[in-house]
C-alpha cells in the first residue's frame, strides 16, 4: 500500500519523469491500422451501404469477358458476368472473378522506377522521350494480344510518330499458335470461330479443354445439352481423346487416353472412315492423301477400342451439321487442319463452328517470331523496346536470349502492374492502371463491341498503359494537337468517328452513356458466308501428319495453369489456392504421369524428377494421374516466378521447356510435399456422388424413387415463412471452380498458404470434390461441389456446447462467431467436412491494401472460430430489404448466392422450398434428385441431381 507521504523531488526531475512517461506512453499506444476513415465528402450518386454496378470488360488472351463490377463506397469488391453480354449472359471465368484481388495487390508498382530508383513521371519522361526522339532505328513494341480496335489505332498513331518506325508484335504464351497457322493455311485468314456447343449433339475433343474454367460460353452451351427433362433426352455426347486428363475428359461420355502426337492421325482417320461411309470430301481434298490413316491400326497402336472409334464415325455421320470436332492449342497445325476437314465434311462449318461474325483475326507472334525479334534486339537492330502486358522476361522461354536481347537494347521500358522479371531488366518501369481503373474497348465479334470503364479512381500514381503510349505519340508527333492527352478522349473520338451511327437521332453523348451503362454495343453486321476449305492445305497437312516421327522419351504437354494462367495471376493468393480442377493441387505445379509409367519408374506423388529437352532442364515433383496416357507427361505453366511476394518461388518454371515436343525424365531421388486440397480419390463404393447413364436413368425412373423411412431424433422443425434450399445438378456441373472463387470473393474467405493446405487447413467454404472410379488407366471421374448442406437436423448444432451454431426460422444453419469458443466439436460431427476452423487470424495478416477487397457485408472472422457457408445470408437480407422497400414480397430469383450467380453451367439453383412453384422445389422432387448421406437422417437442404452420361452402344459405362 502506498502511503500518502510527501516525497522530495526536484522540479527538473519531475518534468523529466513526466517527459519520459509521455514518450513511453506514445511508444505503447496501439498502432493505427488506418481501418476507419470517414467518408465525409460523399461523392454524388454514392449511397453508403448500397452497392453500385459498373459494366466493364476483362481481357485475357484472345477473350474479352463482359463483367459487372460490384462497388461499395467506391471500392470494387466483386465481379460477375455482364447479363447484357450476348455470349456470356451474366457469367464469367474464375480468373476474371479473382482479378479484383490484383487491383489491391500490395506488390503493385505505385510510382515510376527509373534506373532502379523510385522516381516520378516527369523524370521517367525525361529519360525516355529524348531517346525515342533521337531514334533512327525502329522501336520494338512487344505487347499481349490487343483485341481492341482503339488500341490498334493507337499503335498505328505511335508508328507514325516514331522517327525510326515501330515494330510491333503481340505475344500470348498461353494461346498457342497452331490454331492460327492452320486457319491461315486452310481458310486464308486467322479469324477465330466460336464453338457453338449449344448447337452440338456430338462433340469430339482432341487434346482440347473445351470445359476449362475460362471457356464460359462453351461451358454454358455444353451444360444446356446435359440436363434433359427425362431419360429420353435430348442430350449431347462428348468424346475426348487426350494425353492429359482435363475437365473435358472428366466430363466426357467416352474418354480415351491418346498420345498428342497421334491426334492428327486420328482426325484424318476419322475423315477417311467417314468418306468411306459416303460422306463426300470437300473439293480439292485428295482421298489418296487420307489413305494411309487407318482407324483400326490406330486403335491397336493406342490401345483404344476399335468399335468405339467406328461407333464414333457412325455418330458423327448421324449428327452431321450438329457435330463438332475441336483440337487443342498444344496440337500441331495439321491436327487443326484435320478438324477443319471433319467439320467441313459434316457441314458443321457455319453451324457449330461459327465464324459468321468472327472479327478480323489478330496475328499473334509465335515462339519462333519472338525468338527472331529477340535475336534482332540482341544484334542492336532496335533503338529501344517497350514491353507492355505480357511478362517477356519470365515467359520468353529462352533466358539466355532474353539476357542478350536486353544487353543489345539501348533503352528498355516496361509498362506493367508490377516490378516483375521484365521490369527488372528495364531502365524504366512505368506503372499502369489495373483494368478496373482503365478505359478501353474490345471487339469480340464483328457485331459486338465491349467497353471497359474505370470502376474506381486510380489507387496510385499510375497511368493507363494506352495513355503512356499516347503520351509518347503526342510528344513525338509533329501534329501533337491532333492527339488528345487522355485515352478516354481518344477512345471517345474514335467511337464518335467510327462506331456512332451516322445520321443517328440520338446525340453522341447519350449513345456513349448508354453504351457505357450496358458495357456492350450490338451492331448490325452482315454475316460472312461459310469459309471455304482449301483442299491443298488439307492434303499438305495430311502428308505432314504422316511424316511426324514418334517423339523419343515422354511427350510433353504444357498448358496454362488453371489458376495462374500464363503466370500473370501468380501473385493472386485466391488463384494460387484454387485447386487444380483435376489433380486438386494448390500452390504449385507438378508433372502428371500415367500410373503405368509411375510404376515402371517407381515414382509416386511428390518424387522430384529432372526433365530435359534441347539442353534445358527443370526439376519438378510428379503426380500420378489416373487416366493419363502412358508416355505422356503434362504440367502447368505459370509457376516458378522470380518476383512477387506471393508468386516468388511457388512451383517450377517450365517456360524453358516450351516448344519441346518431348522430354527425357530422370528421377533425382528427392521428394517434395505437395499441397493437395483432396487426398482421397475413391468413393469406396458409396454413392455420395451419383452418376447414371441415360438407360440406367430410364430404369431407375421405371422402378421409382425408393422411399427410405428415416428415423429422426428431434421433432420436425417449422419454417413459417420460407425454407431456403439449394439444388446442384451434377450433370450440368463441369467442375470449373467459378463457384469456389466467387464464394471466396463474396465471403472474405482467407488464403492460408501451402504450409497450411498441407495440414488440411484450407478455408474454402465451397469445394469441388473429384472422385475416380474404375481402373486407374481409364477411370471415370465424378465431380461434386460440396458446401454446408444446412441440414434441418444438423449434427453440428447438437454438439456445440455454447450454441454458437443453430438453426434459423428459414432453414439456415447459422454461426454466431462471437459465441464460438473453438471446440471444433461441430466440425468433428459434420459428415460433409465443410466446416472450416480459423487457426490463425488470417484476415489480420492481410497486407494493405488487400483488405480493401473485403466485403463489408460479411464478418471478417477472428482466430479460433469455426466458419462455413451461410447460403450468402447477406444477399438474402439485402434482397429482403429491397423487397420491403419496394413494398412487395420476396420473389423467385431475388436471392442468388455468389456460387449460383457465378456458375456458368447454371448447375446451382437456390430458392424457397416452401414455394411449390420455385425451381428449387421442382428440382428437389426430380427423379434424379438425392441428398448426400441422406441415410444419416440429418435432412440436408441441398439436393443433388445425379450426373448423367450418354454413352454410345457397347462401350456403355456403368453408373456408380
Amino acid at each position: 500500500m502506498i502511503e500518502d507521504a510527501d516525497i522530495r523531488l526536484s522540479r527538473r526531475r519531475f518534468l523529466g519523469l513526466m517527459g519520459a512517461t509521455a514518450a513511453f506512453a506514445a511508444g505503447c499506444s496501439r498502432p493505427d491500422r488506418g481501418a476507419i476513415v470517414p467518408f465525409n465528402k460523399r461523392p454524388e450518386g454514392v449511397t453508403p451501404g448500397l452497392a453500385d454496378f459498373y459494366a466493364s470488360t476483362f481481357q485475357e488472351g484472345l477473350t474479352a469477358y463482359g463483367v459487372l463490377v460490384r462497388i461499395r463506397e467506391g471500392r470494387p469488391l466483386h465481379l460477375q458476368g455482364n447479363d447484357e453480354h450476348p455470349g456470356f449472359r451474366g457469367k464469367t471465368s474464375p480468373r476474371a472473378i479473382a482479378d479484383v484481388l490484383r487491383l489491391y495487390d500490395p506488390d503493385r508498382l505505385r510510382r515510376p522506377i527509373v534506373d532502379g530508383r523510385p522516381s516520378d513521371w516527369a523524370r521517367a519522361e525525361a529519360r525516355i522521350l529524348p531517346a525515342l526522339k533521337a531514334a533512327r532505328k525502329p522501336v520494338l513494341l512487344l505487347s499481349g494480344a490487343l483485341l481492341s480496335p482503339t488500341r490498334r489505332a493507337l499503335v498505328e498513331d505511335l508508328r507514325k510518330a516514331l522517327p525510326g518506325g515501330l515494330v510491333h508484335a503481340a505475344w500470348e504464351p498461353a494461346c498457342g499458335e497452331s490454331e492460327a497457322q492452320a486457319s491461315r493455311a486452310c481458310f486464308g485468314d486467322e479469324r477465330r470461330s466460336r464453338l457453338r456447343l449449344d448447337r452440338a449433339e456430338v462433340v469430339v475433343s482432341l487434346e482440347t479443354d473445351l470445359l476449362a474454367g475460362e471457356r464460359t460460353e462453351e461451358i454454358a452451351g455444353f451444360a444446356s445439352k446435359r440436363a434433359p427433362a427425362g431419360p429420353e433426352g435430348p442430350m449431347n455426347r462428348l468424346y475426348a481423346f487426350e494425353g492429359a486428363m482435363s475437365l473435358t475428359g472428366a466430363n466426357s461420355d467416352h474418354r480415351t487416353p491418346w498420345k498428342p502426337s497421334r491426334a492428327a492421325a486420328l482426325a484424318f482417320a476419322l475423315a477417311r472412315a467417314l468418306h468411306r461411309k459416303g460422306v463426300p470430301l470437300p473439293s480439292g481434298v485428295d482421298a489418296a492423301a487420307l489413305a494411309p490413316f487407318d482407324l483400326d491400326a490406330l486403335a491397336r497402336e493406342q490401345g483404344a477400342s476399335a468399335s468405339l472409334l467406328h461407333g464414333l464415325v457412325d455418330d458423327l455421320k448421324r449428327a452431321g451439321r450438329a457435330a463438332l470436332v475441336a483440337a487443342g492449342p498444344a496440337l500441331p497445325p495439321q491436327a487443326h487442319a484435320a478438324c477443319h476437314l471433319l467439320n467441313a465434311m459434316l457441314g458443321a462449318e457455319g453451324r457449330t463452328v461459327d465464324a459468321a461474325f468472327a472479327p478480323p483475326g489478330e496475328a499473334l507472334a509465335g515462339l519462333q517470331d519472338l525468338r527472331g525479334l529477340l535475336r534482332s534486339a540482341a544484334a542492336g537492330k532496335f533503338a529501344a523496346a517497350v514491353f507492355w502486358q505480357a511478362n517477356f522476361g519470365y515467359a520468353s522461354a529462352d533466358p539466355e536470349l532474353w539476357k542478350s536481347a536486353a544487353a543489345g537494347l539501348p533503352l528498355k521500358v516496361r509498362i506493367g502492374l508490377h516490378a516483375d522479371e521484365t521490369a527488372q531488366a528495364c531502365e524504366a518501369a512505368l506503372p499502369e492502371h489495373h483494368w478496373l481503373e482503365a478505359w478501353g474497348d474490345f471487339e469480340p465479334a464483328s457485331d459486338l463491341l465491349c467497353l471497359q470503364q474505370p470502376a474506381v479512381g486510380p489507387l496510385y500514381d499510375t497511368r493507363q498503359g494506352e495513355e503512356i503510349l499516347l503520351g509518347f505519340a503526342r510528344a513525338l508527333s509533329k501534329d501533337a494537337h491532333a492527339l488528345p492527352a487522355d485515352y478516354r478522349e481518344y477512345l471517345q473520338r474514335r467511337w464518335r468517328r467510327e462506331v456512332y451511327p451516322a445520321g443517328s437521332l440520338v446525340p453522341f453523348e447519350s449513345f456513349w452513356q448508354a453504351s457505357l451503362h450496358d458495357g456492350v454495343l450490338r451492331r448490325r453486321a452482315a454475316p460472312r458466308p461459310p469459309r471455304r476449305l482449301d483442299g491443298r492445305a488439307v492434303n499438305a497437312a495430311a502428308a505432314a501428319a504422316l511424316a511426324v516421327p514418334p517423339p523419343p522419351g515422354f511427350e510433353l504437354l504444357l498448358s496454362p495453369g488453371a489458376g495462374v494462367y500464363d503466370g500473370r495471376y501468380a501473385n493472386n493468393g485466391w488463384l494460387q489456392e484454387l485447386p487444380d480442377p483435376v489433380t486438386k493441387l494448390t500452390w504449385g505445379n507438378a508433372a502428371a504421369l500415367s500410373p503405368s509409367d509411375a510404376q515402371r519408374l517407381r515414382l509416386q506423388d511428390g518424387d522430384v524428377v529432372r526433365l530435359e529437352a534441347g539442353g534445358r532442364s527443370a526439376e519438378i515433383p510428379v503426380v500420378v494421374q489416373p487416366g493419363q496416357a502412358p508416355g505422356v507427361l503434362s504440367a502447368a505453366l505459370g509457376y516458378g516466378r522470380r518476383s512477387g511476394s506471393v508468386a516468388s518461388g511457388v512451383g517450377v518454371d517450365l517456360y524453358p521447356l516450351l516448344g519441346a515436343a518431348s522430354v527425357s525424365l530422370t528421377p533425382t531421388g528427392a521428394r517434395e510435399a505437395l499441397p493437395f486440397a483432396q487426398r482421397h480419390h475413391s468413393l469406396e463404393g458409396r454413392d455420395a456422388a451419383r452418376s447414371l447413364s441415360l438407360s440406367e436413368y430410364a430404369e431407375s425412373r421405371r422402378k421409382g424413387r425408393p422411399e427410405r423411412p428415416l428415423a429422426r431424433l428431434y421433432p420436425p422443425q417449422r419454417f413459417p415463412a420460407r425454407k431456403w434450399a439449394m439444388a446442384v445438378d451434377l450433370s450440368a456441373c463441369v467442375g470449373c471452380g467459378a463457384c469456389v472463387v466467387a464464394c471466396q470473393s463474396e465471403n472474405n474467405v482467407p488464403v492460408v498458404g501451402p504450409e497450411r493446405v498441407l495440414k488440411g487447413r484450407e478455408m474454402h467454404w465451397m469445394r469441388i470434390d473429384r472422385y475416380y472410379a474404375g481402373p486407374p488407366e481409364r477411370p471415370r471421374v465424378l465431380l461434386q461441389p460440396m458446401l454446408c448442406q444446412h441440414c434441418d437436423d444438423a449434427p453440428c448444432e447438437s454438439v456445440c456446447p455454447v450454441n454458437a451454431t443453430n438453426h434459423d426460422s428459414e432453414g439456415l444453419n447459422q454461426m454466431a462467431y462471437n459465441r464460438c469458443v473453438g471446440t471444433r466439436y461441430c466440425s468433428n460431427n459434420c459428415p460433409y467436412k465443410v466446416r472450416r476452423f480459423n487457426f490463425f487470424e488470417y484476415a489480420a495478416q492481410t497486407r494493405e491494401p488487400a483488405g480493401l477487397a473485403f466485403n463489408p457485408e460479411v464478418t471478417v472472422r477472428p482466430r479460433g472460430v469455426m466458419e462455413k457457408c451461410t447460403f450468402c445470408v447477406q444477399r438474402i437480407q439485402e434482397a429482403k430489404a429491397a423487397a420491403r422497400a419496394a413494398g412487395r414480397p420476396l420473389r423467385e430469383g431475388d436471392v442468388e448466392p455468389a456460387c449460383a450467380a457465378a456458375c456458368p453451367a447454371g448447375a446451382i439453383v437456390f430458392g424457397d422450398l416452401r414455394d411449390p412453384s420455385s425451381r428449387v422445389s421442382k428440382l428437389a422432387l426430380s427423379d434424379r434428385g438425392y441428398r448426400v448421406l441422406e441415410e444419416l437422417g440429418i435432412r440436408p437442404s441441398v439436393t443433388y441431381l445425379a450426373d448423367l452420361t450418354n454413352p454410345a452402344g457397347p462401350e456403355e459405362r456403368r453408373g456408380a
Binding site: I2, I7, A26, D32, A51, F53, R75
Partner: protein, 57 residues
Amino acid sequence: MPATVSRRGFLKALVLAWAGAAAGLDSLKESLRSVLIPAGTTLHVRPPAHSVGRKAR
C-alpha cells in the same frame, strides 16, 4: 527550490500524463494522417470520373 510532491499526487500525475499522451498522440496522428500519408495511398479510394454505373439491383 525543490518542489514538494505527494506520492499520491505524483502517481495521479503519472497516470494522467500517460493517458493524456496516449490519447493526445493518437488523435494528433489521426489529424495529421491526411498530411503525413503520401498521395496515392489506398485511403484515397474514390469513384471514377466519367464512368456510368448502374443502381443496386
